[in-house]
């Protein structure tokens, strides 16, 4: 029997099979950010242990940093202590740091691929659940906790039980104005936020093959929202073109690249491989998605009404009642009648150059509605510079929006970018949990085009009809 993409990478990274059936898995790349790492470095110090392969760990500052012009001067002393701690830890242990002000600084899941740190066939971990993003390259990439961060620093391995495989097929081709964000939201809406638990998604099918790398990253990014530890897409010409098309400082070159490409070409799932679970979704029939509730599985087509507690499906009556109360919507409401206060375009889901181009195309020559606050935050400093070179920043500013420096920003509001209680936000991020973007804030997840259109219209719109008006 053949092997899946996941199985091929997994078997190549097993250092040792442990008596209980789990394995020690070798980790090729370890990404670190300021929030989930300080206690791990501290743990190493306290136990007198050292880092095993410092050259395989890369770090940046993203969660906590301000995104305004004066960001280098961190005013919050607690944030500053955390950023300083990362700098000191990286210095002490010999880890590369792309810190504030560095041209490679940015959201950890944006800069890894950008610099060629993320490559097909690797195992990649980070103390961050959205590490699943890197699976877009055909890598096995997953989030870990802080104790595991320390474990990787010291041993370059992790103890893991082999997860199940889950084939997620998207047949047909997407209609205009429907994106990979809509595909993955539809998936989560169908299987629920625990639907993929204990499994690794492998996305495949015609609609996935035709996606760009940016779009694939948005999709894999949200695998964790479907409960899966990781999501992967087999490498193909699109992947190789992305890696080799421009200079990526950590990607192989010359003979090493030739060998690497040969390896990458061997990774796709064999014809006769079997998955533990499968689901198939018709991509051609998908329409833009918008979440109505307080987890990413509470999602509807933009032209459907908000469900009520009796709607049945994957959420209980209590779940739906709690969600509706928090989000301040009544059953039967059409989302296209719901006004927004804030629009956030950013996060490791949708802050890459292609996302910003899509949002800018909708905004060009238009203005945001007066009552709307519009925040556009590029995922990395490199994305910022490229967007500025293309004039996208001018489009957002002319529309009345704020153009910021790179960071997580209002995706989780650890920095000053937060929703106020009851503010309603159209957001391109990945989590609409209670309080995620600010205590009492109400988040609706959408694609960059849908977010941009909501900023202009001052309410949610069906982008397909709105653009063709």
């Amino acid at each position: 029997m053949g092997h899946t993409l996941f199985e091929k990478i997994w078997s190549r990274h097993v250092v040792h099979e442990l008596p209980d059936g789990s394995v020690l898995l070798y980790i090729d790349r370890h990404l670190v950010h300021e929030v989930t790492s300080p206690q791990a470095f501290e743990g190493m110090r306290l136990s007198g242990r050292n880092i095993r392969r410092p050259e395989l760990t890369f770090s940046t500052m993203d969660h906590n940093v301000a995104t305004t012009e004066d960001r280098l001067d961190i005013k919050d002393p607690i944030s500053k202590a955390q950023v300083d701690a990362l700098e000191e830890n990286c210095n002490d242990f010999g880890v590369s740091l792309f810190g504030l002000g560095d041209p490679h600084q940015g959201i950890v899941h944006v800069i890894g691929p950008e610099m060629g740190i993320t490559l097909p066939g690797l195992t990649i971990v980070c103390g961050d659940s959205h590490t699943s993003t890197h699976g877009a390259f055909g890598a096995l990439a997953f989030g870990i906790g802080t104790s595991e961060v320390e474990h990787v620093l010291v041993t370059q391995t992790l103890k893991q039980h082999e997860p199940g495989t889950y084939k997620v097929e998207f047949t047909g081709r997407l209609s205009p104005h429907v994106f990979s964000k809509d595909m993955v939201l539809k998936l989560i809406g169908t299987i629920g936020t625990a639907g993929g638990a204990g499994h690794v998604f492998e996305y495949c099918g015609e609609a996935v093959r035709s996606l760009s790398m940016e779009a694939r990253m948005s999709m894999c990014n949200m695998s964790i929202e479907g409960g899966a530890r990781a999501g992967m897409i087999a490498p193909d010409d699109t992947t190789i073109q992305y890696i080799t098309g421009i200079d990526r400082p950590y990607a192989p070159t010359g003979a090493a690249l030739d060998r690497a490409i040969a390896y990458w070409r061997s990774l796709p799932t064999d014809e006769d491989a079997e998955f533990d679970r499968t689901i198939s979704i018709d991509a051609a029939s998908l329409v833009p998605q918008v979440t109505w509730g307080t987890n990413p599985g509470m999602v509807i087509d933009i032209d459907q009404p908000v469900p009520g507690p009796d709607a049945g499906g994957i959420y209980s009556r209590t779940d739906v009642e709690n969600a509706l109360e928090y989000i301040g919507l009544t059953p039967g409401t059409r989302m296209t009648d719901v006004p927004v206060d804030v629009v956030f375009i950013g996060s490791c889901t949708n802050s890459r150059i292609e996302d910003l181009r899509q949002a800018a195309a909708v905004m060009e020559g238009r203005k945001k509605a007066d009552h709307v606050e519009l925040l556009v935050v590029p995922g990395s400093d490199q994305v910022r510079r490229q967007a500025e070179a293309e004039g996208l920043d001018r489009i957002f500013k002319a529309a009345g929006g704020e153009w910021r420096y790179a960071g997580c920003s209002m995706c989780l509001g650890m920095n000053p970018d937060q929703l106020r209680p009851q503010q309603r936000c159209a957001s391109t991020s990945n989590r609409n949990f209670e309080g995620r973007q600010g205590k009492g804030g109400r988040t609706h997840l959408v694609s960059p085009e849908m977010a941009a259109a909501a900023a202009v219209a001052g309410k949610f719109v069906d982008i397909r009809k709105w653009l063709d008006r």
């Binding site: 250092v15 300080p38 936020t193």
Partner: protein
């Protein structure tokens, strides 16, 4: 890690599914570089009102749950962010055991806990027990019926005994290695370092193009 064998304590209920780690410990508390001090901020947004005093409407603030150390919730507990701070907050807020149900959905079994949360809990000696939905429903009813209901969790025996007149006892499953690690209070990194020479050998044969260029 402190070894875990038996624990007896008051049972508290939180009737919610998909409790995410943002809810267990909100972002503003993630700025700390310490491992301690998270307890009073567990469930912060639900727990405290706008003026900072405990919100009487939040289930876990109910006086009947004073001194509780066993938390019973619904399916998919600990989903979302990988933050281990969520486990630190629960443990430091006095919880030693969490109980939640797996759930059947469309022919598949959805686990009680999200994957990363489960592994974080293990690393900190917080015992996660997965029961059937009917069993958890019975526990919710017992807690409702008997104020101050206590239970004894016996890890070696893999049993939880509710100290109610009905004398309800449930068995639970746990990976043998997880059980051994919890009972022994063993350190994960020490366990792995026993295989240091295997790791070294692996590194020598691991294909170099998987490593970044020098």
């Amino acid at each position: 890690m402190t070894p875990f064998t038996q624990h007896t304590g008051i049972v508290a209920t939180l009737n919610r599914s998909n409790v995410d780690t943002d809810q267990i410990i909100p972002k503003q508390f993630l700025k700390s570089i310490k491992r301690t001090g998270y307890g009073p901020n567990a469930f912060f947004d639900w727990r405290y009102g706008a003026d900072g005093s405990p919100d009487p409407d939040f289930e876990l603030n109910h006086p009947r749950f004073k001194g509780r150390s066993i938390l019973v919730a619904r399916n998919n507990f600990g989903c979302g962010s990988s933050r281990e701070h969520a486990v630190w907050a629960l443990a430091q807020d006095g919880y030693a055991v969490i109980i939640a149900p797996w759930k059947a959905a469309g022919g598949t079994r959805l686990p009680a806990y999200a994957d990363i949360f489960r592994s974080n809990a293990m690393k900190n000696g917080l015992l996660l027990i997965e029961l059937a939905e009917e069993e958890v429903n019975v526990i919710f009813a017992l807690v409702e019926r008997y104020e101050g209901l206590e239970a004894t969790v016996d890890l070696p025996e893999q049993k939880i005994i509710f100290l109610a007149p009905e004398h309800v006892i449930y068995g639970f499953d746990i990976e043998a290695s997880d059980k051994a690690q919890l009972i022994g209070g063993l350190d994960d990194i020490d366990l792995t370092l026993q295989y240091e020479s295997e790791i070294g050998r692996f590194e020598q044969q691991h294909d170099p193009f998987l490593s970044p260029p020098e």
